[in-house]
């Protein structure tokens, strides 16, 4: 059997990589992608715990996360597309409309 800790560590590594990617990258799409990475890291942790606890609920939650991620991706990408259409750029530092 593979020890559960392996999975957790993998999940942590993926999550941190996602975080780093988010800060290092400057275009919205890749930043969005790194968010997906983080989401998947979370999914992995869920499944691993579900396995560890012998429960199906974790899997159900992952199922929901995936669905929500699909919805989120659709809307998010639509927004990015819209931004691109208007500003002709997807650099995240160009988006500072909310500056106080």
């Amino acid at each position: 059997m593979i020890p559960g800790s392996y999975f957790f560590i993998l999940s942590v590594i993926l999550f941190i990589l996602g975080v780093i990617a988010f800060f290092v990258k400057r275009d919205l799409i890749t930043q969005f992608l790194s968010i997906e990475v983080m989401l998947n890291a979370g999914n992995l942790a869920f499944i691993a715990f579900a396995r560890a606890l012998n429960s199906l609920h974790g899997q159900v939650i992952v199922f929901f996360i995936i669905t929500v991620a699909a919805a989120e991706a659709a809307v998010g990408l639509a927004i990015i597309l819209l931004i691109f259409r208007q500003k002709k750029t997807i650099k995240s530092e160009d988006m500072n409309l909310m500056k106080g």
Binding site: F23, S92, N96, M98, K99, G100
Partner: protein, 633 residues
């Protein structure tokens, strides 16, 4: 039949109500018919009830009709109930009787006015309020009538509201009398708190039972008198009455003769036990009355406006009534009120007739020699003037004499002297009025002369009736020298005015006093004759000699100006200053100041909002770390 006395005030009210709602659609003829009929019916009922009253024994006075409980809250219980006793009977008959005549006169006078139905609505309402005032069985309900009268005077004085002066005068009347009402209201509260009831019978019982101390009686009496001073236009609150001339003339007649200004006198008479108990208050009443009587008369001397002269004369005459009350001769005061109602309404209506003839002209300097153009108005006016001047055997003579005699008998010589002085002045200014208006040379404007005409019968017949009563009304209160039994009026009122300080003088003294007052009246008339007929240049000479006196009198002692400068202006200006500096700057400034401080700090903090998603994420990450750290350690 006496039981239906409670209908007296409500008939005019009903009529007023109908007119208020449907008046605009009803034909003029019907309006005047209904309005007059309602008041006439009231008069008839008062007369019937009056005779009913004579038939029953004095012990059953007053008749009380309780209609419903009006206010009931805690200890504050007020019934809507009316009472009928000799005092109310006299007042009700005077009010409805003279009121009816004035209604009839108005039919002619207001014929061409566009506010015809509105006028009669108000007039009926006025009659109602006054009747309620004199017939209510408790002081709170009396206050209702009291205020109602004030309201109607406001409405009627400001009847021609398109004129600024009329609107102003109405407002002034309402507010000035309200200042007095404030004292009245406080007096009511004192009565209620200390006596526990507002019913007159209970109050009188408490007073005669000794439940009221003299100090309390003085306090209450003075507070109530404050109301009377306002309503009855005495010093210092008389200023509204001369301006009240802005209303239609019949209204002036109504205010001056039958309603409104007599309310104060009625109230003092109604509460006579209280004033008798507190000698001080009675003295104050007498002195204010006497001073007002002379003071107002002096102002009447120089006025050129025919109605203003009459207005000051009213103030002066009301002063006489208060003299009567002040010296304890309440029935004498009431008697003067009763005779005054006739001759003063006669004078006003005649003046109205003159105005009618001259298309609204009021300035006596533009009249003169009207005698031959107004064959009916002139004698009517003359009778009124003789009556008010106190020439023997007309009504004014009896009543004024009764008051002065009582003042003398009660050893209030100061008041008596003022009274006599006032009598001279009265005779003088009334005949000045007559001479300037009806006698002497004509000073008419040419176009006014063209329209000159005597009034229609609907106006002259009321004048005739009033003139008749001005002559004979005094004979029900003949002085004691002509026979003890003859003073029927006093006797009738006795159950209400329990004998106070009425002192009887020896026959000789009384004769002497009568002779003095006759002499005084004739002297005043003679003086006027000299001034205005014989040597018409005298007034001008006097003016030249004493310019300041003339100016002072002509400008009514500058009282209006002084009140304006001392009370009105500072309040308005002060409020403006407070509003601009305190309300807007301090209070609102504090509010807006705290708002701008908040806004400023928000602005400073908003620099943290870079709008860059990465910075937010960084903060977010930081937060997550902190949170996780908190969970772990």
């Amino acid at each position: 039949m006496t039981e239906i006395f409670w209908l007296i005030p409500f008939l005019p009210l009903l009529s007023s109500f109908i007119l208020a709602i449907f008046g605009r659609t009803l034909p003029k003829k019907y309006i005047s018919f209904q309005a007059c009929l309602a008041v006439f019916a009231s008069f008839i009922i008062s007369v019937i009830s009056f005779f009913g009253l004579l038939k029953i024994s004095q012990e059953s006075y007053p008749l009380i009709k309780s209609l419903f409980t009006w206010i009931a809250s805690g200890s504050f219980t007020i019934n809507f109930s009316l009472q009928f006793d000799p005092l109310s009977a006299v007042m009700a008959m005077v009010v409805s009787g003279v009121g009816f005549i004035i209604h009839v006169y108005s039919v002619g006078y207001m014929d061409k006015d566009k506010g015809y139905s509105r006028y009669f609505t108000y007039l009926n309402l006025f009659t109602f309020a006054m009747l309620l005032l004199v017939m209510s069985s408790n002081i709170v309900l009396m206050f209702v009538g009291w205020e109602g009268v004030g309201l109607c005077s406001y409405l009627l004085i400001g009847f021609w509201f398109e004129k600024d002066s009329a609107a102003n005068a109405g407002k002034k009347a309402f507010i000035v009398t309200r200042i007095g009402d404030l004292g009245f209201l406080l007096g009511i509260f004192f009565i209620f708190v200390h006596i526990g009831s507002a019913e007159f019978t209970a109050i009188n019982q408490a007073i005669s039972g000794g439940a009221v101390t003299q100090g309390l009686a003085t306090l209450i009496a003075l507070l109530l008198f404050m109301g009377a001073v306002g309503k009855s236009a005495q010093i210092p609150l008389y200023v509204w009455l001369p301006d009240a001339m802005e209303g239609p003339t019949p209204v002036s007649a109504l205010i001056h003769a039958a309603t409104m200004v007599t309310a104060g006198v009625y109230m003092v008479c109604r509460m006579n036990l209280l004033y008798t108990l507190s000698g001080t208050a009675a003295l104050v009443v007498g002195v204010i009355g006497a001073v007002t009587a002379v003071y107002a008369a002096t102002m009447a001397l120089t006025q050129n406006d025919i109605k203003r002269v009459l207005a000051y004369s009213t103030i002066s005459q009301i002063g006489y009534m208060f003299i009567g009350c002040g010296v304890g001769a309440y029935s004498a005061g009431m008697f003067h009120l009763y005779t005054h109602a006739f001759f003063k309404s006669l004078l006003f209506l005649s003046a109205g007739s003159v105005m009618h003839a001259l298309s609204g002209e009021l300035d006596m300097r533009k009249m003169g020699g009207l005698r031959k153009y107004l064959p009916f108005t002139y004698p009517a006016f003359l009778i009124g003037a003789i009556a008010i001047a106190g020439v023997p055997f007309l009504s004014g003579f009896f009543s004024k004499d009764a008051i002065l005699t009582q003042a003398f008998a009660n050893k209030q010589y100061f008041i008596w002297i003022l009274g006599v002085l006032g009598a001279i002045l009265t005779a003088f200014y009334m005949f000045r009025l007559i001479f300037l208006t009806f006698q002497g040379e004509e000073r008419l404007e040419p176009e006014a002369k063209e329209h000159l005409h005597e009034s229609p019968p609907v106006m002259t017949i009321p004048l005739g009736i009033l003139a008749f009563f001005s002559i004979i009304a005094g004979f029900i209160g003949v002085p004691a020298v002509f026979g003890e039994k003859l003073n029927w009026f006093n006797k009738f009122l006795e159950p209400v005015m329990r004998p106070g300080h009425e002192v009887h003088l020896s026959i000789q003294t009384e004769w002497l006093l009568i002779i003095i007052s006759v002499a005084v009246a004739l002297f005043g008339i003679y003086l006027a004759y000299i001034f205005y007929i014989k040597k018409p240049q005298t007034p001008h000479q006097l003016n030249a000699k004493f310019p300041y006196v003339y100016k002072l009198l002509y400008n009514k002692y500058y009282v209006d100006e002084i009140y304006n400068a001392v009370f009105v202006k500072p309040v308005v200006r002060g409020s403006e200053i407070v509003y601009d500096n305190f309300d807007l700057k301090v209070i609102d400034g504090a509010v807006n100041g705290s708002a701008s401080v908040t806004g400023l700090s928000g602005k400073i903090l908003s620099y943290l909002q870079t709008g860059l998603i990465k910075d937010y994420a960084l903060v977010f990450l930081f937060g997550v770390i902190l949170f996780l750290g908190y969970l772990l350690f």
